[in-house]
Symmetry: none
Subunit: 195 residues, 4 copies
DNA sequence: CATGAATGAGCATTCATTCAT
DNA sequence: GATGAATGAATGCTCATTCAT
């Protein structure tokens, strides 16, 4: 028993460092986060950091990749779950619900993954996925590409901003937020009713 | 003559430095912009920089304040111009039109002012101003504050994102973009018709 | 049985570590050899290294001392073997033959021992020993010390360089090399004939 | 006048740093030379070092290249000067004379350039140049390549070693040293007579 | 005999900023 | 108005070495 425990001991510092790194990256951003800050928060010394992570940069990218992988999985699951649904409105609603739920459970990771400046790949994922959901909607079949593009990008902008200023600030809970966004973007269709 | 010349020469370096700073800040962001890059681009030496600006930080804030002042003025003018109008839809439309026009004329300044991470004051201005426009709308008088907050923040998110991915990327011109955003956010009302 | 096995197992890691250390020191030199490299090559962990060796430095010096001891023995044996010979030429020839033979059988150890920069003690040994052989030669009895010194040092330089660029590079075999060096340094006397 | 002086002022720290670097590299070798040592010796701070040199590594290579360039020039000049001479003996003598003279005037640079471990390019230069001088000698026209190779490499070894243990240690002056080496390597021909 | 985990001490390099001219 | 020269203060990263198990 004790043996098995010690076998996973190595994860202790590593996990702790990663957690603290996420917290501090979330609060201060990449450039203002010093490795000395991270190790101080984790109560280890600098060389220990390099025992587990190649560099500050690599850790940062690992974290972001993590977030993106999760994000992608969530969207894909939502889409396949609501596969039977005919309109994109309901699919988007399911996606938003799950996504915001994930975001609120991982606020710091979300901050890092969604608002990192240099590599806006989370946005790219959102862009792709949402586009493939919405473009089948009858509402856009006669419109040109630009209108669809604007709709999607607008939606992503809303998601990003509201995640920060409503969800993670704990002003609005995820369910309500998803509902209201759907109400805005699918106003012409009949309103969503809260369960 | 020599005197008059120097009258115009004066601050030549200062203007050039500020211009180059805006360009480079826009491309690389605050932390990845080195003063040595700015002065190199302006063909002066480092001490010259400190002749005109107190520090990197202060220059950055000056630039952002500049942008914010302009932004505020534009919104205020738009509001007073469309004062007679009864519904917020038209007012927002006018604001967006003018704002996007300004943005597309000052792409680099906009990038710096709108997407600087640390001090989201541009967003605050937008938030305040748009709120005061929209809250009079009949659509929100029966709703609670949260719904209004979400509407405003969603709109700001859309504006920010579309500024980057549609306007400054030159995929959509300002007029069209303003129109489409209004169509999304005021879908229940009758559609905007292009002039 | 298990006991006997461990009797042979004992120092298995030690020998392996020393061997790998010699290889890596030979290839990369003292400063560019990391203990982590050595233990990796020996498939053990870092603390195991310190189980057998006090430090990197001490191991290095042990290796060099090893080489020097062997070198000294080889020269001494050669000298006593050719004790009867009247001229230094033959003695030198025997020394070179044996020495080069030893070098070519231990190329990595030779590289470390002969070309370590900081402590040129191998050279000192060569210097001493060769001097005591040559100084009895009639050729030098009337000359001043300087000429003898130059002769010895020149010979050592030749040995060192040719060890690297002819012997260990496998361009020339030890016997031929010894012969040619003698031909150069004892040209006035009648030429050595290959056996 | 003062103006012209200040125009070359920038060379002051740079030259001083390079000089001190050569001294310290010569004494301690590349790996044991810290930039902090160099700047301390030159009485400047670390950033000043980077004002003039890209890195420790680049400076080191610059120094070595410097030495090699000079070495090459000296040999080439010696060769063309003694062009009329029929035998390689005299040419080698001239080369050695000039070379040792240069070495004794630049002892530290020579130590760095001639005994740097990683990049034995100085040796390569010597090898090439000396080979082209000697291979025309009647003495080698009937011999195989190996004998020539051994002769050259032996000579280089002698030069390197004696430079350190006779010339730079100030035991022998350059003229005498050149003469004695020639006496060793061209013993069959009639002896060189000191001027 | 061996190792997982950790660290003290150091090192090259960078960058905003300043002073004398 | 402008610059040549210099620096204080960090910061990321490395490596030999050790301790508890």
């Amino acid at each position: 028993m004790a043996r098995e425990e010690s076998k996973f001991e190595w994860q202790k510092s590593m996990k702790l460092l990663r957690e603290k790194a996420i917290e501090i990256f979330a609060e201060y951003g990449y450039f203002q986060t010093k490795i000395s800050d991270i190790v101080k928060a984790a109560n280890v010394t600098q060389p220990t950091f390099y025992l587990y992570f190649e560099s500050k940069d690599v850790l940062y990218k690992e974290i972001i990749t993590d977030f993106q992988t999760n994000l992608e999985k969530i969207i894909d699951e939502s889409v396949s779950e609501s596969n039977a649904l005919q309109n994109s409105k309901e699919t988007i609603h399911v996606i938003l619900n799950r996504m915001f739920n994930y975001f609120s459970l991982n606020p710091d990771l979300t901050k890092v993954g969604l608002f990192e400046s240099d590599v806006p790949t989370a946005s790219k994922i959102l862009s792709q996925k949402l586009k493939s959901v919405v473009e089948k909607d009858s509402r856009f079949i006669d419109e040109d590409d630009i209108v669809l593009h604007i709709f999607i990008e607008s939606l992503i902008g809303s998601i990003e901003r509201l995640t920060l200023s409503a969800l993670l600030s704990e002003k609005v809970e995820s369910k309500k937020l998803a509902e209201e966004i759907v109400n805005i973007y699918f106003a012409k269709e009949k309103s969503v009713v809260t369960a």
